[in-house]
Amino acid sequence: MLPDKQKIIVFIVLCIGFLSYSGFLYSHLPVSNPNFSITEAKGKTLWQEHNCTACHQIYGLGGYLGPDLTNEYSLKGPDYIHIFLQTGNNTMPNYHLSESEIQDLIAYLKSVDRSGKSDPRKFSINTNGTINQ
């Protein structure tokens, strides 16, 4: 049986490590100069208010009913996205969005597209099991 003192020391060391790592991550976010415009920020709010993540993914995270939209802007273009947002389709409801709301959402998807590539075919795999973007 481990003595209580040892258990407490291990616990404290782990907690200090966790808090230091958390603090470091908060202060060293991956993108140092965030660049959401007002329109993009509005688009993000609309994305959340309509719970788009229930069906769609960004960087492979989110729902599975619809496609991953990380790079939809550069792959399909704003007009294609506009039609979907305006009318919906067989699976996606028509949310009756106004024109400005549609433009905000397109601006948000443009900013997501700008942030990186999510296509797994673009990753290179290293012999040690890690991957590079």
């Binding site: 782990l14 958390s22 991956p30 965030p34 993540t53 069906c55 699976t91 409801p93």
Partner: protein
Amino acid sequence: MELSINKAKFTPKVFILVALILLATGMLFGILGGLQYIIPGFLKEALSFEKTRPLHVSSVLFWILFASMGAVLTYLKEHTGNKLYSNNLSRLLFILFVISILSILIAYFSGKFGGREYWEFPPILSLPIIIGWIIFLINFVLSLDSLKSQPVYIWMWLTGIIFFLFTFLESYLWLFPYFNNQVVNDMNIQWKSYGSMVGSWNMLIYGASMYLMTKISNDRSYAYSTKAFVLYFAGLFNLMFNWGHHIYTLPTQPYVQYISYSVSMTELLILGNIIYGWKATLTKAQKFFHRDAYRFLVAADVWVFLNLILAICMSVPAINVYTHGTHITVAHAMGTTIGINTMLLLAVCYDILKDTCISLDPYQKLMKLGFWLANSSLFVFWIALIGAGVLKSKWQMNSDQIAFSLMMQNLSAFFIVFTISGVLLLAGILLSIYPLFKNHLACFFSEK
């Protein structure tokens, strides 16, 4: 229910009863979601998928939270041999969580979302959860005399309560523009919190199952052993640092990947321990398998083994790049929440709500049928998701991709199988919990 929340009669059992209702509700919404996969446009206007999914997810998450709180409060009382510090605090915790889940479900039905994966309700509704959890922490700490010479499950519960609070608050950092105004930054912190949060409620559940195990076998030595603490610290280490496997494909700093990958490999220690102790586990299983609660603990052991292999594979970035964003991730999520968490919590439910007012003997056949139906249909469900994931992975990696909608059509056979097995899984769970409700109803009327 009225009787149970009455001042004189309040017991943590009500947490378990509400939890079971939420489990059944969550599974019903899950089946509805499954139907929306196989019948495109099903209930598109009335209850579209962006409502069905959070209704399913939140109900099931609250099943886990309610059952965990009920288990910890009940077992803490049994462990100390004293009353809880405050029954009023327990009652307040219960009321706050009931208010939370009811307002969350109403918000979803009326189309009000916060739009964050898993916690999709408007942020204001997280307040009763936070207040309730602080109350839970206070009640837990004050009910415990000291941490001196405590078994491992007390450490697990305390860790689970503290880290859930930390990670739940962390998941709301997006409310600050510093974290929210760039998608990669936002997702980085979001999935850091989610990864550790799952580990937190696992601590509560695994702690409860370990307590139950010591109770059934009447052997407390393991809960105080060095081995139990080594495995606990390995679990805590993973809770803190292995969350990065959720975001290997996010353009974040490379060290997130390296740390998570290295830490995740320590799970091989846990896997090795399962294989090493297999024979002893089997002997114990044969000895206690007739006990209703123990059957679910054994089922969870099998699911731990299957899902740990899957988790370790998915923690290797080179494999994760194939599985990420596919239904293999869903198979892992379902395998762990249903196969492990739900089986362990059902064992706890059986222990806490067992035959106090009527004998469960006449229901033995029914309960065994429910147990086997639930586990066999879960296995089919799990395999169907892995099958769908493999095909989606092939599609993702194909240089000549067909349209997304065509790929989804090609997966429809898997979706049909997983929806049918989902219905059978619900039937199995309902058969398993029906006698528990019948017993509680008998208690309710006899007390009246």
